[in-house]
């Protein structure tokens, strides 16, 4: 394989971005075709990579060039690490990217901001490819930030909706928390590892493998890996940083399918997959990852039960499934996580695109206003059903196999460790919930009677939108066949071994979930919940456990309050101290002088105060700390 060819994978979308960004306004619709063609080329190269890696499963090449170096310090490089995980991830990103752009040709038709849309989405695909190809943590972090920026711009794409702008801001701020943690983790790793090439993955692995850690060093390493996981938590919407993802559904559905289901949110999982060789030295972090993952899987699923918005249900489902992946990572199996990532990318992209097709037809996202669409949109309904079955873990769809693998891994670990056993039980319960909310969605949308949409205009979506659905449905059904390839199993280190009891439990719970939702929702919305307890539970879930309220309060009272406090401090305390000195000396006389009055004498007062602080620090404090002085 000619490795240098793979540099072109991010380059073609960048070309598309530049062309559309500079000529976009004059080309309108044809911008989509530019993006499509460029992405198709990238996709073909990524197939070439995927096939190449499948033929040589142990393939692992690191091509880099020196970027810059700090004297007496680390040398930073920029390069590509190409191995099995890269190839799989690149394949997923470009396949979904290509299909989503194809779908957008129909879905985004005649939107006024079309050029901006294609430019941003091309840029996103480019930086996402860069992220996957990165061979060191620093480079990955740069693309990580850029991916976040693209996400910010795309969520707020429909700027006329105030919710969209708000959601964009929220996504930005919440993921920022994760980014800061990642940066700190990175800096700790950088100065702990001292590898010749800073933060290069391969060198980190060999460093971890060869050095004997003292307990203090292990603590540092645990902190570092935990902080890196913090970054993944933000990007992959894990508890408690999950709040941004449901709101991000304000963006166009295609964006949700590409960024918030199939690719960007997977970046966190991918990061942890890359960190796995380090994580095995820090069991504490592994446990935290497993607990957060398992809890998030369950917790998000419960919120998905009652969400009225079709896309939000899918968003909660995404959070929940990401939790599964982290659970697998916490249990020490990168392969299971990666495989679930793959199958999830296919069926969740399928579900989102199908949901987009529905929204396109009925012009609403509210499940309560849909119903009875099966007869009108057969292809959409069937493909969505396939996606739903795959998500619910019903054989022979690929979701069944990937979920089963995770449950199996966790169970094996749980036999020795009670915490993992609890997580296993949670995960199994989640299967039930997943099947329930998924089929609630499906029944509400496609079964029963129409509930308040314009029936005349509803028809199947155009070909460019249906073809991606069909392709994705094929992948969602048959992607388990990859496991039959010995080289694929070898890359992931897993095999298609069927553990009958786990399988039976999973499938039966899935079927129970489907049955319950069939009983409740197949005829439409149930009139009311029978008992008070159910109503209360419904209420709690509907309010998303009041998370938004808590966060809102946090941002209002803590952050804004802090800013307010500081300005109050400036206005009242500093001046108050000055006045206090006067009062202590002579009398409590004059009123407060707000510095904000813009008077020169207040500024001079501050200068004198600064001078006194300097005196005290320099003449009276510093000498005692450093020796010498008076």
């Amino acid at each position: 394989m000619d490795t240098l060819l793979f540099v072109l994978i991010p380059v073609f979308p960048i070309i598309a971005f530049l062309v559309i960004a500079f000529l976009g306004n004059s080309m309108k619709e044809s911008g989509g075709y530019v993006a499509l063609v460029m992405e198709l080329i990238s996709f073909i190269i990524s197939i070439y990579m995927f096939v190449g890696v499948l033929t040589v499963p142990s393939y692992s090449v690191d091509k880099y060039m020196i970027w810059f170096s700090l004297s007496h310090g680390p040398t930073f490089e920029i390069g590509m690490l190409i191995d099995g995980f890269t190839a799989i991830m690149i394949f997923i990103v470009n396949l979904v990217g290509f299909l989503v752009i194809l779908y957008s040709l129909g879905y985004m038709h005649a939107d006024p901001g079309l050029a901006r849309y294609y430019a941003e989405i091309s840029l996103f695909i480019a930086v996402m490819n860069g992220l996957v190809l990165s061979d060191n943590l620093f480079e990955l972090f740069i693309f990580w930030e850029l991916v976040g920026l693209c996400s910010y711009l795309l969520i707020g794409f429909w700027y006329r909706k105030p919710e969209a702008a708000k959601a964009a801001k929220k996504a930005f701020l919440v993921t920022r928390v994760g980014d800061v943690m990642l940066l700190f983790g990175m800096i700790i790793l950088l100065y702990q590892s001292h590898t010749p090439l800073a933060l290069n993955f391969n060198q980190l692995y060999s460093w971890a493998a060869t050095s004997k850690f003292s307990s203090a060093e292990l603590t540092t390493l645990t902190a570092a890996t935990f902080l890196v996981f913090g970054g993944a938590m933000g990007k992959s919407a894990q508890f408690p940083l999950h709040v941004w993802l449901p709101d991000a559904m304000e963006g166009p559905t295609t964006v949700s399918a590409l960024i918030h289901a199939a690719t960007m949110v997977k970046a966190g999982v991918f990061l942890i997959v890359r960190m796995m060789p380090l994580l095995q030295y820090t069991p504490a972090t592994e446990l935290i990852i497993a607990v957060i993952g398992g809890f998030t899987a369950f917790f998000a699923a419960t919120m998905g039960l009652v969400a009225p918005d079709i896309k939000r249900v899918l968003a909660y489902s995404t959070i929940s499934q990401l939790g599964y992946m982290f659970l697998a990572l916490g249990a020490g199996s990168a392969g299971a996580a990666m495989y679930h990532l793959m199958s999830h990318a296919f069926f969740k992209a399928l579900l989102f695109l199908a949901a987009g097709s529905v929204i396109h037809a009925v012009n609403t996202q509210d499940l309560h206003k849909m119903g009875g669409l099966f007869t009108k949109m057969k292809i959409t309904a069937v493909t969505m059903l396939i996606g739903g079955l795959s998500l619910s873990g019903i054989p022979p769809f690929s979701g069944f196999f990937s979920k089963d693998l995770i449950l199996d891994v966790v169970l094996q670990k749980g036999l020795n460790n009670p915490v993992y056993m609890v997580l296993y039980i949670l995960a199994v319960l989640t299967v039930l919930l997943t099947a329930f909310y998924m089929f609630r969605l499906w029944f509400l949308a496609f079964m029963g009677k129409p509930r308040g949409y314009d029936e005349k205009h509803v028809h199947e979506s155009p070909g460019v939108m249906v073809v991606p659905l069909i392709i994705l449905a094929i992948f969602a059904t048959f992607s388990w066949m990859f496991l039959l390839l010995p080289s694929f199993s070898q890359i992931l280190g897993i095999s298609l071994s069927l553990n009958i009891p786990t399988m039976l439990i999973g499938v039966s719970l899935g079927l129970v979930g489907i049955y319950v939702s069939y009983m409740l929702y197949s005829a439409g919305i149930p009139k009311k919940f029978t008992s008070v307890v159910m109503k209360q539970i419904h209420n709690i879930l509907y309010r998303k456990y009041w998370f938004d309220e808590v966060y809102g309060a946090f941002s209002i009272y803590i952050i804004y309050g802090f800013a307010k406090l500081v300005s109050m401090f400036d206005k009242y305390i500093i001046d108050g101290v000055i006045d206090g000195i006067a009062a202590g000396g002579v009398m409590l006389s004059s009123s407060l002088y707000p510095i904000g009055k813009g008077l020169v004498k207040n500024y001079v007062t501050l200068i004198i105060s600064g001078l006194i602080i300097t005196f005290i620090l320099l003449i009276y404090v510093s000498p005692f700390l450093y020796g010498g002085g008076i």
Partner: protein, 160 residues
């Protein structure tokens, strides 16, 4: 001993003049007090046998700067006729400044010894140093004066 007494007396006088400037209600009086202060400082330089600097101090500060300030006062006469300065002691500032000064003077007293030789500063020595070591600074000073003149002229020119 005699020198110390005279220096103490002059210092005391200087402080009196400075306070007089701060507490005079008429602006013209304040400017006169400042001129007095500058001249007293010049006298202290004479007492230290630094005659050239004393002369410069009296000529430039006592003369030129005071005249400049007077012109400023006269050009904005309307204002001065209208209002007199209201004099109040603002104790918070007094405390703040007293703190600064006491730290300064306190530190002065912690230093055990200063070099004690007083020497006679001739104009010859001074000009040698000025035009040998400090010729670069002299040139820069010229540029500063030029830029301030240009700036001042631009500022007071009539706005068209």
């Amino acid at each position: 001993m005699f020198l110390t007494v005279i220096l103490l007396a002059l210092s005391f006088l200087a402080i009196i003049f400075a306070i007089g400037m701060l507490y005079s209600r008429e602006i013209v009086h304040a400017v006169i007090y400042i001129a007095g202060l500058f001249i007293i400082l010049g006298l202290i330089y004479f007492m230290l046998d630094n005659t050239f600097l004393g002369a410069v101090q009296i000529l430039i500060y006592g003369g030129a700067v005071t005249v400049l300030l007077m012109f400023g006062v006269m050009l904005t006469k309307r204002e001065i006729m209208d209002k007199k300065e209201s004099i109040t002691t603002e104790y918070e500032y007094v405390v703040l400044i007293a703190l600064t000064i006491s730290i300064y003077i306190g530190t002065l007293f912690t230093v055990s010894s200063y070099p004690l030789s007083i020497y006679y500063m001739s104009m010859y020595t001074l000009s040698t140093v000025l035009f040998n070591s400090f010729i670069g600074a002299f040139v820069v000073m010229g540029v500063i004066i030029m830029s301030s003149i240009i700036g001042a002229i631009y500022m007071v020119k009539e706005v068209e």
